[in-house]
Structures are given as structure tokens and as C-alpha cells.
Subunit: 202 residues, 2 copies
Amino acid sequence: MARRSDHTREELKDLILASATKIIEKEGFSALTARKIASDIGYTPGTLYNVFQSMDGLTLALNGITLEKLLPVLAQSKEVNKDKAPEEIMKAMAREYRDFATTNRERWLMMFKHEISDEEEIPEWFRGKIALLFQPLEDVLKDHFTFSSDAKRQIAARFLWASIHGIYFLHETGKLPLLDGEDVCENMTDALIENCVKGLRK
Amino acid sequence: MARRSDHTREELKDLILASATKIIEKEGFSALTARKIASDIGYTPGTLYNVFQSMDGLTLALNGITLEKLLPVLAQSKEVNKDKAPEEIMKAMAREYRDFATTNRERWLMMFKHEISDEEEIPEWFRGKIALLFQPLEDVLKDHFTFSSDAKRQIAARFLWASIHGIYFLHETGKLPLLDGEDVCENMTDALIENCVKGLRK
DNA sequence: CTAACAATTGAACAATGTTTAATTAATGTT
DNA sequence: AACATTAATTAAACATTGTTCAATTGTTAG
């Protein structure tokens, strides 16, 4: 067959991404193969390469969607808790982040396990989404703390974010088991936030 | 050929690990394949499976060696700086960690990129090494701060460690570019430590 | 109706980890 | 010393990957 025109290029792209999502959620991201997607949507592997440059490109597109799903979660969490004390807002945001990672475990893991091929550069549209990721936390800092410069505040937002992520990531991947026990991850994150907030208040 | 007895089982194991190390350092950990190791040491792939259960087992052994190289680095850093203020000791330890990760980049990356196959359990000897990893930091906390319980101190040591690692890991893998600029990673880590130390002092 | 076009395929390639029967060097036995 | 046993090593095969590309065949234009 050829030129079936069952679907436009755009429809095909959506089909592929939807199928990939399904596979990831059902079988984990390491089960995502070109052949599996193709057979799932009733095409052959070659067709995927008409739509995406490579499996790497497909992965990048999936990661972009993951980021887009995550952004409003954090923004809303900040909005909902805006009248609480800053440490409570941050704790809530961290909890939302962990919930998101748990609910969308394989998508989330894929973002960080995916290797960047030697300096293939993260595209600009992707960097843009990442910048937005830190915004809610930066806003909290802007509302409740004073910094000697914008740069200092940006640094604070990012080390907080990286720390919160780092704790959960190590805990969840199990590569460096931190501590056993119920809620130990939440306890660690809350302790981190409490101490940092005290520090930021001087 | 068979039973060449060129090398004992132990020698073979060392040969394999040495060759693997060489390959990783020269070509990156994603270039590590059974065939490449085998041809490098003058054997065939099958022989690797006499010594290791799988490539996964080989990777685990390599990661164990990486941990063993890292442990004394942190312990010594703590020892050398023991007369300084606690925040300075911690900053120095964090710096040593980053230096280690830079110097042994591919080994270090391999530890965290390697996926655990579905609940195949991290072996006990490996968990033991990991526990030692947090010891120097725990000692610093014990020497300079008071905690309401041992558990609280363990939590503090681990969230600090995970945070320091998290910052450097995100920065280095470039998956979530934090900020551009010289020494931005050191600045973030130092800021984290300063704020946490202030918090821990109540 | 025919010619140009382009989406899709199918088959192939190189590379991966892993398994297994066959080989053969070393050891043990008579 | 000759033979039998044992076990380390190999070669070849398998099932998978991602990826490429000439050939095919619907679709569209003239």
C-alpha cells in the first residue's frame, strides 16, 4: 500500500504519541519500541520515521508532553495554597510534584533516564518549558522573602527544586536507598523545606 | 579451545572489570558491550557469562567499585576539614563529591542511569556500601548540631546528601538545565548548605 | 486515461544480550 | 603412557533492537 491517506501527518503524529503513551503506561518505558507502536496503530516501523526523525525525537516529543502536563499542576498548587505560610505552600507543591511523578511514573522516569546523545542540544522549545517549571517556586520566593538580587532568588528557586526532585528521585529509583519506612520521603522533603525557609528568613 | 587456564576465575573477573573500566572511560558507558570487552581481553562473549550472570551483574560489580572509590574521598574530606565550621566542612565535601563525579564521569553516570530490572533487589553487599556513603555527613551533623532523635539526624544527613547530589545531577546531565554561568552549580550548593545550616541551628 | 507523485511497505543491515551444543585443553585414573 | 573424565572456551545461532531504502501502490494532476 501507499499513500493511504487514512490519516494526515498531524493525525499520524497524534496516533503515534497516543499509542506510545498507552504502551509506556501499560508496560513501562523500556518496552517502548518502534515495532510495537507501529503494529499498534496498524502501520510499519518505517512510517514512524516519516513523522519523527528517530526514536529519540519521539521520546523528546513525549517528554515535552509530560512537561506540559506537569506545569499547570505546580502552578495550581501554588494558587490554591497562596494564603498559607510559605513553607506550607512549598511543602504542598513538593507533594503535588511527588503525586504527579507517582501517577505518571513511567513518563516521569523517561524524562530523566533518557540520555542526550553527544551534544545533540536540547531544542529551544524544550528549554522554554523547563524555564516555566521553576516559575511557581520563584513566585513564592518573590512574595515571601527578600533577596539581594534577582540572580540570588533564581538560584534559590532552582536549588530548592533540584533538592526536592533529588530526594524523590533517589528514593523512587531505589538506586541509592535512603531510608526505609512510611512517609520517609515526605519527612525528608518537609525537613529540607523547613530548614531552608528558616535560613532564608536569616 | 577450552580450559586454557591462562587465567583463574578471579584473574578473569579482574581482567573483565579492568577492560570494562577502560572502555567506559574512553568511549562512555553506553559503548560498553559484551563483545567489546571479550575481544579486548582475548576471549569470546560466552566467557563473560561464566564469570558474571549477565551484563547486569557486571554493571553492578562496576558500580560497587565506583562506590568503593567514592567512600574514602568523602571520609577524607571530612577528616581534613574537621576544624572548620560545619558549613565549610559540608561545602568541602560537596565539592569533593562533584570533583569525583567529574573525574569519574562515566562510572558515576552509570550508577544512576542503570535501571533495576523489576524488583531484582539490590544485593546486601551493595546496600552496605551505600549506608557508608552517608556516614561522614552524619558524623558532621553529630559533632555540630543537636537533634531530638537519631532518626531526625539520619533524615537530615540523607536529605542533605540527596539535595547536593540532585543539584549536581540535574546540572550535569543537562536534562533540566538549571542556570547558565560559571560556578552556578557551586553557588547553588553552597546556598543550599548555608540556608540549611542556619535552619538546623534553629 | 495517463503520468507524476509521495506515503507506505517490506526486506535488509548492523548491533545488542544471551543461550547452547560442540570442541578441546587440562586433569585424573588405570 | 594411554585413556577417560571433566570443565573452560568457543562458535554459531536466536530474538531483539533502531534505522535505511528501493520497490510498491494508492492518490492526485494534467
